[in-house]
Assembly symmetry: C2
Homo-oligomer: 569 residues x 2
């Protein structure tokens, strides 16, 4: 069963619960973005994804990519679908009109990409980096590079890559060895090998624009000696550059996406941004990229849920407890199956609200006239993005596995399609920084340096959006307060044990996700007016998922007490 | 990296912690089974698995099975390995000497099969049902069927299948439609279609013996109208029977094992056991089969752990907190990675102790001279087997995913082998009764009928094996007491809400597994004498896995209170 986005669900969360329309209209570029436009774009995006992208998912998985003598053929249909994607203007959705873009809010693009992930993650991989590269070049590229590449990227005429990882340099990019030597004409000569380059080579576009993390000759060792080079597959004069795809990896999933090992062999490139400031140039797009990965987790989970929900309504086995008559019940009526479906629905909707809020705030951080509003939005994005990246991809995988379980033995058969979601989504826990790195980023790099002050401010804002007179709101407020206190506890105990924050980082991140999702559901229910479409997953999620909050809280607390030398208890 | 069993680990648990040698020697057939023999069999089994079975795992996954015109080719090397398996006498390990078996304890066979699952689950699938079929026939087959088939099964000359599932009948076998009509010569004419038949057709043996769940013409509807027929691929006179393999399923994993859709088209068979007592005839082997599936989960997890452990010791990225010098540390030193490795080690060893104890008690239940001892052993097996089947397969999958995470992006690449464990082990959560069915079996079918009395007796036995003067023992005793009380609470609340036991079954099973594993670790540590090989995973498991006990306990308690109409709290 192909994925079919449900724009009404998204519109309810985005427009009715978050009031995104009003927030966006306050931003200078989006004065004209009214609710009708939001609805229209989502409607069209949903149709495009369902009709053009989704049907290629299973065939793409079966066919995979073919490498031959350095060239890579994507699965049948992908090139035509990419052409349609480009012609419909989707790559340009949030790009600046001055570069040929449509100038729409990035949050709409985030939703489009979420749906594409649910429909066909492998297809998404090629255009998935477009906007990151576009933003990077726009902020850090020279005028000449911008003139040559920005418009082509905005339109999707050329596709980019992010060439970071090397065999010895994964989570630790400070170990990157690729060399870039300045030439007399102002270009760079780039030598080195990169791995795990998504869409490093393919047949979708004529040119491919590699953004390559590398080292200049006078570079310091470690991450502070990294620079960024733009290295095109085809040079401006039409010659082929010395860039080669050596192989395509055989992976657990994402068979339709070529993951390439690339060799730069005296390739010609140009510096992007300042020398030795390559990481800074790439990090401009990090929050947006991580948000997109979080949404991949949500997209897969929603797609697996759709499949399981449809199957559970049709499949009849045994009489459910309390059912009358002798006929077997639809398995949706069996408590174990209903619990899976409603809990996962609870994760999808709750996580979506948080992700969409983050998407809107990414727009605010970029475009608000008021510097304080920009800073506040930026603070949210910096703190919440790693939480969503780790928790949504983990839930995408665990939840897709729960949805597979609904099918019984049939879930294991490829024909039903649900097992592909498990295989495809698993990578999202690994790339754009492993989930363990996200947890460290959150606690060690972002919360502890100011002893939790910024994090506390974010949580207080959330508290103030709730109405303590409502039971669900009061419960969420209590958890947000406990989370604030927990951050303080870790900050207080950390000096006594340097390893402590690293030891509790994963539990802390889970605690944060559960408190944030409790907030999200309180907000959704306040607007849903008793509609069981929303209240049923809310109740089930609270009953079956939320108890983890107290467990993780206690685990982190105990570790803090032990680190501080206090007796546990 | 191929899996390499570690007989010393198993021997420590089996011999030193469980005292299995002494227990087995008390059983009439095993008077000669001394510790040296246990060690020797495990040593040889480990070598055979490592040298013959494990190297075919990755190639088998790559090559898969080929169906052509009804014939099925297993992956290259499988047939030769099966020949070696047979010639070394492994199929006959626990079969009765009167049928050509070696007459060794079944628990040794269980260990062999655990290791085979870790080494090459797909290969295991064909001989995996040998002993179930052998036992079934031995207890229920006519003298003529026994004479014709028992010896051939014991030796592995012919392989069996279990043909239960039909498209409309999965968890609900009462919906089986395959017809069996008695013929004048005493045979049956069998018509119908079966799916998900592991090794339904292959090139490993000349004959295949199908045990087919079917309905006689006068059968009642539902599960009480099911009979069991033996239907061979090749008839005693050498003619081919009317049994056909229609296709081989494309699956998420286990590519080396042919999962067949079979058609019986007026095939000749013979009744096994009484008419309409087919389920009873199959259930004779159910505990052993479910135990074997639990051990598949453990085998995969141990194998994935070995891979991750080796990788983490080699791979260097970033400096670990507290590490001196500027060089990157082995990732094993990073807290997030160490936690994964030690927690999963904790699951493997703790679950192994429980599974091995169950394996010994399966032997006791079969062979003890004392009826009371047999009953007590049988009670343990009936109650603990569903816990292990569900919890070990879930942990096999979740833990293999955690081990994959240790590899970062490399874990997603097939070359490293860890992703295959995720794909292969996932099926174990589905077959032999889904994990949700196990939870219902435990609570609804086995605990509630006597209001928890038998379960309570099992837990009291465990309590009495602990020494309350030791902290870990006292902690485990407390949890066992809480679990006993929980069973009583569910029994007390169930009359008020028929669905309650179904709603809490999964949480109850998890609570049970955590309490049992806490018992297992208390027992292991009591014998391990402070050896960090055992104390380190013990401590990590208690810190990071055991907190789930209190969470699940509270969830079940709350549901009981609500069902009984009491205010939650």
């Amino acid at each position: 069963m192909d994925y079919r986005p449900r724009p009404d669900d998204t519109l309810f969360l985005l427009r009715d619960v978050l009031g995104a329309g009003a927030q966006l209209r306050r931003l200078p570029p989006f004065g004209e973005v009214d609710d009708a436009l939001l609805a229209q774009v989502l409607e069209e995006a949903g149709r495009f994804v369902a009709e053009v992208i989704a049907p290629l998912n299973r065939p793409g998985d079966e066919a995979g990519c073919r490498w031959e003598a350095g060239a890579v053929a994507t699965p049948p249909g992908f090139a035509a679908a990419y052409r349609a994607f480009r012609e419909a203007g989707w790559p340009a959705l949030s790009a600046d009109p001055e570069h040929g873009g449509q100038g729409l809010p990035a949050v709409l693009e985030a939703v489009l990409y979420e749906w594409m992930a649910g429909a066909n993650h492998a297809f998404l991989m090629a255009p998935g980096l477009l906007h990151g590269a576009y933003d990077c070049l726009r902020h850090h590229g020279s005028a000449e590079l911008q003139a040559r590449y920005l418009g082509r990227l905005a339109s999707g005429e050329w596709l980019p890559t992010m060439a970071l990882t090397e065999p010895q340099a994964g989570s630790d990019l400070g170990l990157v060895r690729t060399r870039a030597v300045p030439q007399a004409d102002g270009s760079l000569r780039v030598d080195g090998g990169k791995i795990f380059i998504s869409a490093g080579e393919h047949d979708l576009t004529e040119n491919i624009v590699h953004l390559v993390l590398c080292r200049l000759p006078d570079a310091a060792p470690g991450p502070k000696g990294l620079s960024l080079a733009l290295v095109p597959k085809v040079l401006p004069d039409g010659r082929r550059n010395a860039v080669a795809c050596e192989r395509v990896e055989q992976k657990m999933g994402l068979h339709g996406s070529p993951t390439c090992a690339m060799r730069f062999d005296g390739a010609t490139g140009w510096l992007v941004g300042e020398p030795h400031r390559g990481l800074a140039a790439m990090f401009v797009m990090m929050n947006a990229a991580r948000m997109q990965v979080a949404l991949q987790g949500i997209g897969h989970l929603d797609a697996a849920w759709q499949q399981a929900d449809a199957y559970a309504a049709e499949r009849r086995q045994m009489r459910a407890p309390g059912a009358s008559g002798g006929a077997p019940s639809a398995i949706a009526e069996h408590p174990a199956i209903a619990r899976i479906l409603d809990t996962q629905r609870g994760w999808v909707d709750g996580a979506r609200l948080l992700a969409y809020r983050t998407g809107v705030l990414l727009d605010v951080a970029r475009h608000a006239g008021d510097a304080q509003a920009r800073d506040r939005a930026q603070r949210w994005c910096a703190l919440v993005t790693p939480v969503l990246k780790a928790a949504c991809t983990q839930q995408g995988f665990d939840g897709a596995s729960a949805c597979l379980q609904v099918f019984g033995g049939h879930g294991y058969i490829r024909e039903w399609g649900v097992e592909q979601h498990l295989r495809d989504v698993r990578v999202a826990m690994l790339y754009e920084g492993t989930n363990e790195i996200q947890a460290i980023d959150l606690l060690v790099r972002k919360i502890l340096p100011d002893r939790g002050a910024g994090f506390s401010a974010v949580l207080l804002e959330l508290r103030d959006e709730l109405d303590a007179a409502r039971e669900a709101d009061a419960d969420a407020q209590r958890r947000l307060a406990q989370l604030r206190y927990l951050a303080t506890s870790v900050a207080a105990a950390a000096p006594a044990r340097a390893a402590l924050p690293y030891e509790v980082a994963d539990d802390f991140l889970r605690t944060a996700m559960l408190a944030l999702t409790a907030w999200a559901w309180a907000r959704i229910e306040a607007v849903a007016g008793g509609d069981p479409r929303w209240t049923r997953p809310a109740a089930t999620w609270r009953r079956h998922a939320l108890p983890e909050f107290d467990m993780r809280l206690a685990m982190v607390k105990r570790a803090c007490q032990e680190a501080a030398g206090a007796p546990p208890g």
